[in-house]
Symmetry: C2
């Protein structure tokens, strides 16, 4: 049996990889994508997307994911389900291990994204995108003149709570232990507390997100041993981000302090022939538009790399 | 009269600025865009766009431009027609001169794009996007199994001619004087000449692009004093790129050797509070997807800058 060397293996099939695949396949670059979860990534499980440029009235996340998939497949992208467990640099080629099978490729695009850490409480999964959110930039504007609960006590929780005050009438900030945010942020937070825009609840553990007729109405919590309840229109949870980079252990691909992949301006990692784009990249904005744009740019870098390899033969 | 200081002035209203404006206005950041030409930029004057991610079957350039404009305006972007003649750093604010009126802003996004240099021959403007093209990555795939004329003799002309051979049956490369491309590229070009895929015509001046029933059929040229004609399905012109950065003279904004604006990973220029995104940026890909993604990322950088300024007060 002939050994097949793919032009490019893309790890993940979210918006960034699908956008990259539109570009590579349209130029007849042989492209396969491996996805272990949902095609379309976080976009696919987002109810309504208002800020992906090109859709004046917004678009359902599932519809956008479907369009991206169809567009990539239209030009010849192969999308397979499979779990990538490791990546190895082999010089001119790279070895990607998918469901224990070795796949060889001239280039690799890592676009596995990042996942938001979850609280793991009842209601959280059920109302994701419809009352439960992890991205203020994406969904904050849906809460003009509404009440919110924000969960978390780190830099991003405090920063995003402050950001959300531009929309909301009031925020209850639930902090499991004490506030861990920087002094500058804590100082800034105090102004919003003084203004009555944010109420901070320390030593408060979130227990359940309650909805009536599929509309979030209440957060149940435990504050210093006693049950408490917060009436709300929605919940934003900021308890950290987990980049999907575990499979890179031992690969030599350089990560930043948060486990995100370091790239240069052309989306190249430290290993020639391995590129990264989207939410898994250091400095990522967690925005679909950015992930898609980076996918397109990465595809051009991949083409250039392949052309140079061909010249060198 | 009170002096108004805008949160952000965006120079240009192409895809990159419109995408940025969706983000800034959705967060109630006061945003005005100044456009001297066409809202939607190069996208608006492109016939059909196949590779903007999210539209499985492609989208008309004018439709995409219209959607981007409506989306930005839906959240409150002000789009004005006006010619920006200069930009001045004033420390905490910036001064943008629009049609001889000074506009003051806390931040500026430069998204004026780049223009393709034109030959200035009959037929070039008339059949732009419908037989006459300036971007092989964008439009090359429309010419599978077709004949093409490519005009130019520099690095990009030779590189793109080679790239286009993956689609076409044959290319006539018209070079006004002699080939100026790098030796490596000339060496590579020779292989395609030997294979009969590309025929090079030196000392050949393009005179006219001829169409029958609005379909490009022929390029008329002059070769060493004699009239010659090339039957073709389309023409790709690569005679350079002109970044729209003339108004930056004396602004202190750092440009690269091609006159494109240097930015860091967060799309910031060397002057705090001044950002750049899209085709005017050094390293730009001339792709709508990249321009849009950078617009979104720049908007987040602008918000962060504005928030920090507020904290510093």
């Amino acid at each position: 049996m002939d050994k097949v060397v793919r032009d490019v293996v893309m790890i993940g099939a979210g918006p960034s990889a699908l956008a990259a695949a539109v570009y590579t396949t349209r130029e007849d670059i042989d492209t396969v994508l491996y996805e272990k979860g949902v095609i379309g990534g976080l976009a696919a499980i987002t109810d309504q997307i208002d800020n992906y440029p090109g859709f004046a009235d917004g678009i359902a996340g599932l519809t956008l994911a479907d369009q991206l998939q169809k567009q990539a497949e239209r030009f010849g992208a192969h999308i397979d389900f499979g779990d990538v467990s490791s990546l190895r640099d082999n010089g001119d080629t790279k070895i990607v291990v998918v469901d224990d099978v070795e796949v060889e490729a001239k280039t690799v695009l890592i676009a596995t994204g990042s996942d938001y850490n979850k609280l793991g409480v009842p209601g959280e999964v059920e109302y994701y995108g419809r009352g439960v959110h992890y991205c203020a930039t994406c969904d904050g504007a849906f809460y003009r003149e509404k009440r919110l609960v924000v969960v978390g006590g780190g830099n991003s929780a405090v920063q995003e709570a402050i950001f959300l005050t531009r929309f909301t009438t009031h925020i209850d900030l639930l902090v499991r232990s004490t506030i861990k945010a920087s002094e500058v942020l804590q100082h800034e937070l105090q102004k919003y507390v003084d203004d009555g825009k944010i109420t901070v609840h320390l030593q408060t553990t979130t227990d359940e997100i309650v909805a009536v007729d599929k509309k979030v109405t209440e957060v149940k919590a435990t504050k210093e041993g006693a049950s408490v309840s917060f009436a709300t229109d929605g919940v934003f949870i900021f308890v950290g981000l987990k980049p999907n980079t575990q499979f890179l252990e031992g690969s030599g691909v350089e990560l930043d302090e948060y486990g995100l992949i370091k790239t240069d301006l052309h989306l190249a990692t430290n290993i020639p022939g391995i590129f990264a784009s989207g939410d898994v990249r250091s400095g990522a904005t967690m925005q679909i538009a950015s992930a898609v744009g980076e996918g397109a740019s990465a595809a051009l870098s991949i083409r250039e790399y392949l052309d140079k390899q061909k010249l060198a033969v």
